[in-house]
């Protein structure tokens, strides 16, 4: 079983699968559709992936790895708790936008993963949320927020993830505006340009 190699070809196929899964849903997308979009026959697909579910796993896994990397890089340039929360919100939004297919799939097709796959991805999700938990704790220590930081984090991540439902980056609201509004809401502040 040499289907686990991270070849460039495989990454291309994963991108294509992400698009189809995002547009039509995992169950509705057949291996024949995937193969056609990839320019091969359906039988050839199973040279790259053990089964259909492994393609779904690869899509979500890749999206999450990417999200963690972007968030960590964004945090390196932030100093204060506000800056860190803003950096995380911005990073979250840009991953949702740049890697939208994979994240829509992660949100909607979680259930179709095998139990083992889910367990592996939960670890990644926990690693990602740990970045938020740390920033929220720092904000709490700096007395920028009070009370239940876990609740604030969940409300904030919920509001962020829900943006895939309505947010149009080409609209009047820039990703930065959106990130600022969110951080202001999380911090219970009304000022807007305090993050730089």
């Amino acid at each position: 079983m040499k289907t686990n190699k991270n070849t460039q070809r495989r990454q291309e196929l994963v991108q294509i699968a992400a698009r189809l899964f995002c547009d039509q849903g995992y169950e509705t997308t057949t291996v024949r559709m995937l193969a056609e979009a990839m320019g091969i026959q359906s039988g050839s697909l199973f040279h790259h992936f053990k089964d259909k579910q492994e393609i779904l796993f690869a899509v979500i896994d890749s999206g999450m790895q990417h999200a963690i990397a972007i968030a960590q890089r964004a945090l390196q340039q932030a100093q204060t708790p506000q800056q860190k929360l803003f950096a995380l919100a911005k990073a979250h939004l840009s991953t949702l936008l740049e890697d939208r297919d994979a994240h829509v799939v992660a949100i909607y097709e979680w259930r179709s993963l095998s139990v083992d796959s889910r367990a592996r991805l939960v670890e990644l999700r926990d690693a990602y949320e740990a970045l938020w938990i740390e920033a929220m704790d720092e904000a709490l220590a700096a007395q920028l927020i009070t009370g239940d930081t876990a609740l604030r984090r969940r409300l904030a991540l919920g509001a962020l993830n829900w943006t895939v439902q309505w947010y149009q980056p080409q609209g009047r609201l820039s990703p930065d505006d959106l990130a600022q509004a969110l951080v202001a809401m999380v911090l219970n502040q009304t000022a807007v340009n305090q993050f730089y």
Copy 2:
């Protein structure tokens, strides 16, 4: 085609379908599974519903009708803009909790609806959101909030809908606590017991 009657039997079947669709997803749930849970044979199912998709529509339609009714009733006892927003948040949460199956299905299986079904349900969703828009506008007029009320509404509804992912009503956080925290966040206030 007398499949459109709102018989009591049909309502029971819709409830059962909601549970299966919620637990396993629409596409993964077969008509045979549905029939078994309903205590009938798969052929008999098509006496009640034209096709599988009509069952999905009935589940989501019923959940949305219910949500609107609960929200309207909750608003009748509210006076101030704060009270109205709190009433809406509480109503939204109790619908999500009491009618959880249907709303999880509404969130996750929207894509599997026919174009016509979607259009009819969009009308219901708009009617529901109109209640929020009105309350937010009143909060704006009362200078409780400033800026982009549409953005605040979307962030709030996103945070609320995302609660299906993590909220456990039997945990330490009551639905009232959650609704209060949300309204406080929407209104950029830190005080907690100002709503009564």
